[in-house]
């Protein structure tokens, strides 16, 4: 039982990071129908930048993370304007190829700017809480808390603000949204800024928990897509549930089956969900 609870906690922590990545991917997909493959390398850019700001500029963790999120948001807007905007009318596969090109560019630019070594974002949180045999490392608790706050903030924004309503309107029916006076250009820039900032936050959390390294971004973005499939493309509650399901499945399979094949188990789960409920766990089948 203690073992089970421990794995559930571990799964929640990694799952919350997947959710952050997936939230960005899912809103971008909802608005523009683009599989934004470069999202993972934007996240890694943020992780590296945070590390750089902390070690070379001397900022402490939270201000460094905020600056990196703002920089990530700016990068997101640049990507949207320069790369995706020109192909908004072309078939989706073209945008996908552009995303691949961008991934290469950002990934290699990261290497040029920050070097090839893997870096771990330094944190002072080393305490470990023990509640009834289940261990809660302080850092992991904070990661979960930060992710939860960001996810809650994003949900609030989408549900309660004018911009959030515009985002939902464009996702539901682009043409009608335009007729109702929504400026689609502004919405898509905003979505890219917001998503990239969330992605950067995920990158920083990954960097603090594990490491920021070349090659991490690919795995991260694929996990993000897996969450989308589990939860349903374009659905925000789906991204939350999907992230938790994926994280917990992973921690269970690496603890009780095999850590080498944990990804195989997650992907099999994803394929199974897709076949039984192609619209995802959290989406009512309308399309």
């Amino acid at each position: 039982m203690v073992d089970l609870l421990q794995q559930v906690f571990n799964g929640l922590v990694t799952g919350s990071i997947y959710t952050l990545i997936a939230l960005g991917l899912t809103t971008i997909f909802g608005i523009l129908g683009i599989a934004h493959f470069a999202h993972g390398s934007v996240a890694m850019f943020g992780g590296y930048l945070t590390f750089f700001l902390m070690t070379s500029v001397g900022l402490s963790l939270v201000p460094a993370m905020v600056v990196a999120m703002v920089a990530g948001a700016a990068l997101g807007v640049v990507i949207e304007r320069l790369a995706y905007y020109p192909v908004r009318m072309a078939p989706p596969i073209n945008a996908f190829i552009i995303a691949l090109g961008l991934t290469l560019v950002i990934e290699k630019a990261n290497l040029l700017m920050f070097g090839v070594d893997q870096v771990i974002i330094p944190t002072p949180y080393t305490r470990v809480f023990d509640i009834g045999g289940v261990t809660f490392p302080e850092l992991r608790v904070y990661v979960l808390a930060i992710a939860a706050i960001l996810v809650a903030g994003m949900t609030w924004m989408v549900q309660r603000t004018w911009m959030g309503m515009a985002i939902r309107a464009v996702a539901q029916n682009r043409a009608t949204a335009i007729l109702m006076g929504v400026d689609v250009n502004r919405v898509s820039m905003f979505v890219f800024a917001l998503s990239s900032a969330l992605g950067v936050a995920a990158g920083v959390l990954v960097g603090a928990l594990y490491a920021v390294a070349p090659g991490v971004s690919g795995g991260l973005v694929i996990k993000g897509f897996a969450v989308l499939i589990l939860g349903g493309l374009g659905s925000i509650p789906g991204a939350i549930i999907g992230g938790i399901v994926l994280g917990v499945t992973e921690s269970f399979s690496s603890a009780f089956v095999s850590s080498g094949y944990k990804d195989v188990i997650s992907f099999l789960l994803m394929i199974a969900v897709l076949l039984v409920r192609p619209e995802g766990l959290m989406r009512r089948g309308t399309r």
Partner: protein, 328 residues
């Protein structure tokens, strides 16, 4: 007419290439390009002609490569037999995984196939007793000599392998042309354009999609087998998702849904990163930027763009003046 002249010239040039260019490195790049053209053709069949984007072709290439290596080394088969059987194995795997995967469409299908590729990759890395894991699988032999009695052609050099792969590529092109021009090819195009309508017209679309996916898997497996016996050493790296994405890139760059597009694209995706070595540090950045720029300005790929140019130029020549000059 011009088409046939061009085709004949291309074949003659391909046959003459290793005799004219003796630098091993260039012959090596040419062999890799041709292997990659076959993978690109496999992507072309499922994506260009059927409209389903598969990010699993790198994985099928890996299945073909390891199957052929295992058959020829561990099972002691002749290399020719291994190369002939491994596409069948890759095709059967594609058939089995394609049946459930093809029930979904669009982005979903792309992501499922990407996951399949990752599963293949993880198995190649972790199934160490069979595949050697990341340490690799050494000692994959080159094909045996072909011939009867005293007369035989030894296949023991890079040049000889060049001709084996060239022959394989021509075979693949012939098969592709046959598929595309048959009734099946027309049905596939109909599915690409409007699957619902094709089904309404009485076509069992799932059979044709499954055929296209299995045949594409077999082609990629064939390319993998050739790669295995050419390189002599296998590791999981060239069969990751990156390989699948590169193959898609080749098809899109060259022009998807055309027979010659993947050839041009395959050549470019192997050569461009090598040519850009001059600017070592910025190599992949430039490559990535090129992709973005090509996609924005030539959304249908190079071959259709060039064909369009030539057609326009001819039209202008036949009417006596270019449209631009007609303006007052």
């Amino acid at each position: 007419m011009m088409r046939h002249t061009f085709l004949a010239a291309a074949i003659v040039a391909a046959i003459a290439f290793p005799m004219l260019v003796t630098v091993n490195y260039f012959v090596h790049l040419a062999v890799l390009s041709m292997v990659f053209m076959i993978v690109a053709q496999s992507v072309n069949l499922i994506q260009g002609y059927t409209g389903y984007v598969s990010i699993a072709q790198g994985g099928f290439m890996g299945i073909g490569a390891y199957a052929s290596a295992l058959l020829s080394v561990d099972a002691g088969w002749s290399v020719w037999a291994s190369i002939a059987v491994s596409p069948v194995i890759a095709g059967l795997v594609a058939l089995v995984v394609g049946y459930p995967s093809l029930r979904v469409k669009g982005h979903y299908f792309a992501i499922v196939t990407m996951a399949l590729n990752m599963v293949v990759f993880i198995v190649l890395v972790n199934w160490i007793p069979v595949t050697g894991g990341e340490g690799g699988y050494p000692g994959v032999p080159m094909p045996e000599p072909i011939g009867f009695g005293d007369w035989a052609i030894e296949i023991d050099s890079r040049q000889a392998m060049y001709y084996v792969v060239l022959a394989a590529l021509l075979l693949v092109m012939a098969v592709m042309a046959a598929i595309v021009r048959s009734r099946i090819g027309r049905v596939l195009l109909a599915i690409r354009q409007n699957e619902t309508f094709a089904e309404a017209a009485g076509i069992a679309a799932w059979k044709y999609k499954l055929f296209a996916f299995s045949a594409a898997g077999a082609l990629a497996g064939f390319a993998g087998a050739l790669y295995a016996h050419y390189m002599g050493f296998l590791s999981p790296t060239p069969f990751s998702v990156d390989a699948s994405l590169n193959a898609i890139l080749a098809v899109i760059l060259g022009g998807s849904g055309t027979l010659s597009g993947p050839l041009v694209g395959g050549l470019l995706t192997v050569l461009l990163p090598e040519m850009l070595r001059v600017a070592e540090v910025f190599r992949l950045i430039i490559y990535g930027l090129l992709l973005v720029v090509v996609m924005i300005f030539l959304p249908h790929g190079l071959v259709p763009a060039l064909v369009g140019r030539v057609a326009k130029w001819r039209e202008a020549r036949d009417t006596g003046a270019s449209p631009a000059r007609n303006k007052p």
